[in-house]
């Protein structure tokens, strides 16, 4: 799994760090640090984190390794920089 968080969007709600604590971690009250290449077994937790992000800041790409056991799911989730959410 490849991850990138748009930390300009991130407002430190920490939903990702609650729901996938082995991939996302708060550093202090507001800073987010994350593992940009999470292991395949973190997939469910990461999916919860991506969905819960209140500002749609997490871009996730499932790689071949992740796809091996899940078939034909949409490989790309998250909003990235393209969606119109923030104004």
């Amino acid at each position: 799994m490849r991850l990138v968080v748009d930390l300009n969007r991130c407002q430190g709600y920490a939903q990702c760090a609650f729901l996938a604590p082995d991939v996302f971690a708060m550093h202090g009250d507001e800073s987010l640090l994350y593992n940009p290449e999470a292991a395949a077994e973190q997939r469910e937790d990461v999916a919860r984190a991506v969905a819960a992000c209140p500002v749609g800041a997490i871009l996730l790409e499932l790689t071949d390794e992740d796809m091996a056991d899940i078939g034909s799911q949409d490989a790309v989730a998250g909003a990235g920089a393209g969606s119109g959410g923030s104004r």
Binding site: N8, D29, L33, P36, E37
Partner: protein
């Protein structure tokens, strides 16, 4: 006005079977490529990058990677979609022939284009004395290889690390070292860390953070020489105040240089300040005439911004790379009436000593600063910068949920000082004080926003001081 209605079908032809070349295979280049494919570009796409790696994310290199929480070669950027590109990695572009529409590569190959996007970014400014810079234990931090090498050096428990330059990267490195329990000295030419980017009022807060975390912070000094041992390992640095710092790891963090040398003599308006482009990301040539087929995005671009008096801005910001790449890609595949201006409000973040620093706008334009919320001494606050009676920028320390409000203030050119009260207003928020930026004509560690005047030709270094 889309494809089938175009005047001469040229755009439709370009989209169907044109050749687009992107020089620079990092964040901006990748996101631009994705946007082009999203917009239906079906022609050939060539991605040229001097590093041998597919596009990766750099911000983790000075944070997670140095802390050992992530691995340097595991920072490849997720893809938003497949881009079906011809990748030329590990090969630098070495020249441009604008008339023949050709990019020359380091291996002698030439690649022809119908549209060219330049996103070559910046590189770390090296230590000015090459011999000293070659000493083992001396690092810069920009690339994945840099990150990997520095991480390994830190993991070997050096007796002391010296960081030269206390900009954002230097401060983040010092923070990571302290978190790993390493002794760190930071030498900064300016009066405080971050002073070039955020001014001395905020710089003083940053200095306190260093000291509180037992960083040996030396300000107002320059490192004059690095000294090696007989085996060619760095062992000490000599400072302008006559002192010596013994260190077996030295990180040179003196800002960045634009990767524009390969364009020398090409006729493009490229120089040490970057490549000038119009608000629609089209590059200027040296005569100040805008080109039709060459676009620029990311750290290497200098582009005029409507919110800041159309002065050219160079932004070394992650978010700018993403937004400008998107705009450039859109415009490359649009008729002129459908093009969009790059109107992104500058924004960046830094994570250091457990504090989240975020900013919007252009702080170095500010002449005054007002602490609107919270308190400097608690290191939890929001502050706005004023310029000619309007709000020009804002910064927060661990207070980022308010930042969207200040961004709106900047976008709407709201008055400064703000005429309203806010939650958490303290006595220090009663009146503005001078923001106290250093004289911008004296280079410090390289602020991440550079204002570079109004001339697209970049014949000389022009600065507009914030007053």
């Amino acid at each position: 006005m889309t494809g089938e209605h175009t005047r001469d079908g040229a755009l439709e032809h370009l989209k169907r079977e044109g050749r687009i070349v992107i020089v620079g295979a990092s964040l901006a280049g990748l996101r631009a490529a994705e946007t082009m494919r999203d917009k239906g570009f079906a022609g050939s796409l060539t991605m040229i990058g001097d590093e041998p790696y597919e596009p990766y994310d750099r911000p983790p290199l000075s944070k997670q990677v140095l802390l050992g929480n992530a691995v340097a070669d595991h920072t490849a950027l997720p893809r938003r979609r497949a881009i079906d590109a011809d990748w030329r990695l590990g090969v630098p572009a070495t020249g441009l022939d604008m008339a023949a529409r050709r990019v020359r590569l380091g291996n002698g190959d030439e690649v022809e284009y119908d549209r060219l996007l330049i996103a070559t970014g910046v590189r770390a400014r090296p230590w000015p004395n090459p011999e000293e810079g070659e000493l083992e234990g001396v690092f810069v931090l920009r690339t994945r290889d840099d990150g990997e090498g520095l991480q390994r050096a830190l993991a070997a428990n050096p007796r002391r690390v010296l960081v030269i330059g206390a900009g954002f990267t230097g401060s983040e490195i010092a923070s990571a070292c302290r978190e790993r329990g390493l002794k760190v000295t930071v030498a900064e030419r300016g009066s405080a860390p971050l002073v070039g980017a955020l001014g001395a009022v905020i710089g003083e807060v940053a200095a306190e953070m260093h000291r509180e975390h037992e960083v040996d912070l030396r300000t107002g000094v320059m490192v004059t020489a690095l000294e090696g041992d007989p085996a060619g390992r760095v062992r000490a640095a000599h400072l302008s105040d006559g002192s010596t710092v013994e260190a077996d790891v030295v990180v040179v963090s003196l800002g960045a240089q634009r990767n524009t040398e390969w364009l020398a003599g090409s006729g493009l308006g490229a120089g040490p300040r970057g490549i000038a482009c119009d608000a629609g990301c089209r590059a200027f040539d040296v005569r100040g005439i805008v080109t039709d087929d060459i676009y620029v995005a990311g750290d290497v671009a200098r582009s005029p911004h409507a919110l800041f008096g159309y002065q050219f801005l160079s932004l070394e910001h992650w978010g700018n790379a993403v937004a400008q790449a998107d705009t450039a890609a859109h415009n490359m595949l649009s008729e002129s009436a459908d093009r969009r201006p790059h109107l992104w409000v500058p924004a960046f973040w830094s994570s250091q000593f457990g504090v989240n620093i975020k900013s919007v706008g252009v702080p170095p334009m500010g002449t005054e600063i007002l602490i609107t919320q919270g308190s400097l001494s608690e290191r939890r606050f929001a502050a706005v910068y004023g310029y000619q009676g309007r709000v020009i920028a804002a910064v927060t320390f661990d207070n980022c949920r308010w930042l969207p409000f200040y961004e709106q203030q900047i976008e709407s050119t709201a008055p400064f000082p703000p005429p309203f009260s806010t939650v958490d207003r303290r006595p220090e928020g009663n009146k503005p004080v001078p923001a106290d930026f250093p004289d911008p004509s004296v280079p410090t560690h390289g602020p991440t926003i550079t204002l570079s005047g109004y001339s697209p030709a970049d014949r000389k270094m022009t600065f507009t001081p914030g007053r």
